[in-house]
Amino acid sequence: MGDLGLVALQARYSLVALFRTPRAVIFGVVFPPLLVVIFNSIFAKSGSGPQVTHFDGTTLDNQSYFTAGIMAYAITLSSFSTLAIALTTQRESGQLKRYRGTPVPAWTFIAALVVRSIALTCLTVAATYAAGAAYGASISGEGVVGLVVYAVLGTATMCALGIGLTAVTPTAEAASAIAPFSAVLLSFISGVFVPIDQIGSTLADVGRVFPLAHLAEGLQQSFAANGSTGLDAGNVAALAGWMLVAVVVATRRFRWEPQASRG
């Protein structure tokens, strides 16, 4: 079997393993569309007339705004969090070390987990979009191009960051706390849970240091796009920059053996 065949096989097994873990499925696939339902239910009743958010010189109806933002959050969960937690767990339990002792090139094992995260991300993006569409969120044909570009770039960036994060998570518990918690925290200042025109420019600027804000804004621009793809050089560059940083950290600091039990 070639190495790519091995990646596919391992990815299949790790997907099987993932779908036998109800917590992972609930967090990865069910939670984001549920958030879309809750946000749209709350804000649909909160006033008269169409609610809109102003950002980046444009306006977008709130159904689409929240759908796009939560889609960014969903990508963060299924790529960044899932990968950081899985890799740290498998490193600390000795699985990574064990795989490294087989003839299979070690990178195939990480590649398989990345493929798994991509599959999970596709699922959660589709589910989030479906939930948003049920509340009237809509996207133009050109916008879909932008959405696909941001989803792919965002997934790549968040996967790289997830691998990079394992350099600083000594235990599975640490990874399970740090990864989702930082995603939630950033969501409040990145135009995901609260419209960006309501949080003040200082907090918004802090949020824009991190990649989630750029992924959310990119997806929101895609939903707002009318006659163009909504692609924005600044957001694309920010995501690519974070990916580069993460790749450098991951290639230099990635560890295969348990850290907590070293004696």
Partner: protein
């Protein structure tokens, strides 16, 4: 030697100023079961991880299956099997799935079902790894360790945490591997395990080799001297018994010990004398020294447990 599976010459490994392994040398012949013993912190794990290709050595020469494990290649890894000390497999996959996944990593794997049978997990083939008992999980480790049909298998404390009957099963399994012609490098905390399974053993202490050889070369088991032991009766002294047996008696507490080549005559004299004098020799026994005795003598200070 050309036929050796493992050759180690003056192996050294330092972590900073701490010398974990201080120049050890040994060979493991093809088809041999080699027991590698020592108290915690003696350098066992460091050595085995160097041989497995996980760790780089600081000095010396190491050759495993004709190659330098410091530069592990894919072809080399296909020929060795690992059962690591602390290793968990994916708890959500079943025994059969895990064995099949690992089988796909090797060019000529052993048959999956037969391997599951060899380790005694047929009844658990459809169960998830996370639901197995400690002993069953260890057997699964062994199954994935040998699924690639390796020539050389590293077993790092394969029975730690087993109950006595599970340990017996594991021993039978390891004997089965030996019958398949595998070379086995075994580390263990249990001296009876080494005694039972190993053709030769090495004992490590503070990173140095303190013993190397077969059981009888080390003075343990059948083929070695016999130790006669009993509680010293009141009303006599060591001198009288030494005269009687013509051998040196060592007394520790009230337990007297004497080493003899052949126990029949000394036992006859000893019991005849005791009957005559009306003494009762409590706890009288004639035994071969156990590997455990040799081990404790060589490694001292009871550092071997835990």
């Amino acid at each position: 030697m050309a036929g050796d599976a493992i050759e180690v010459k003056d192996l050294r490994k330092s972590y900073g100023s701490n010398e974990a392994v201080r120049g050890i040398s040994f060979e493991v012949a093809t088809g041999e079961v080699f027991g590698f013993l020592g108290p915690n912190g003696a350098g066992k794990t460091t050595t085995i991880e160097i041989l497995e290709g996980y760790r780089q050595r600081t000095g010396g020469e190491v050759c495993v299956l004709g190659a330098d494990p410091g530069k592990p290649t894919r072809a080399w890894r296909e020929r060795i099997g690992l059962v690591l000390q602390e290793c968990e497999l994916d708890p959500t996959l079943t025994v059969h799935e895990i064995v099949r996944l690992f089988a796909s990593f090797y060019p000529h794997p052993r048959p999956i079902d037969a391997t599951i049978e060899l380790v005694g997990l047929v009844a658990k083939a459809g169960s998830r790894a996370g639901s197995l008992s400690g002993g069953q999980r260890r057997r699964l480790d062994v199954a994935v360790g040998i699924i690639g049909d390796p020539e050389l298998v590293f077993l790092d404390e394969p029975t730690t945490g087993f109950d006595p009957s599970a340990r017996r099963d594991a021993w039978n399994m390891i004997e089965g591997l030996k019958e398949l012609g595998k070379t086995i490098f075994l580390t263990t905390h249990y001296m009876d395990e080494a005694e039972h399974l190993a053709d030769r053993v090495a004992i490590l202490r503070h990173g140095e080799m303190v013993a190397l050889g077969t059981m009888s070369e080390l003075g343990a088991g059948s083929g070695s001297k016999t130790v006669i032991r009993f509680r010293m009766p009141d009303g006599t002294g060591p001198a009288e018994i030494e005269r009687l047996l013509g051998a040196k008696l060592s007394v520790s507490g009230d337990i007297a010990t004497v080493e003899v080549d052949q126990p029949q005559r000394p036992l006859h004299r000893l019991t005849g004398w005791a009957e005559e004098r009306g003494f009762v020799l409590e706890g009288l026994e004639a035994v071969h020294p156990r590997l455990e005795d040799i081990f404790l003598e060589l490694t001292g200070d009871g550092a071997g447990d835990g």
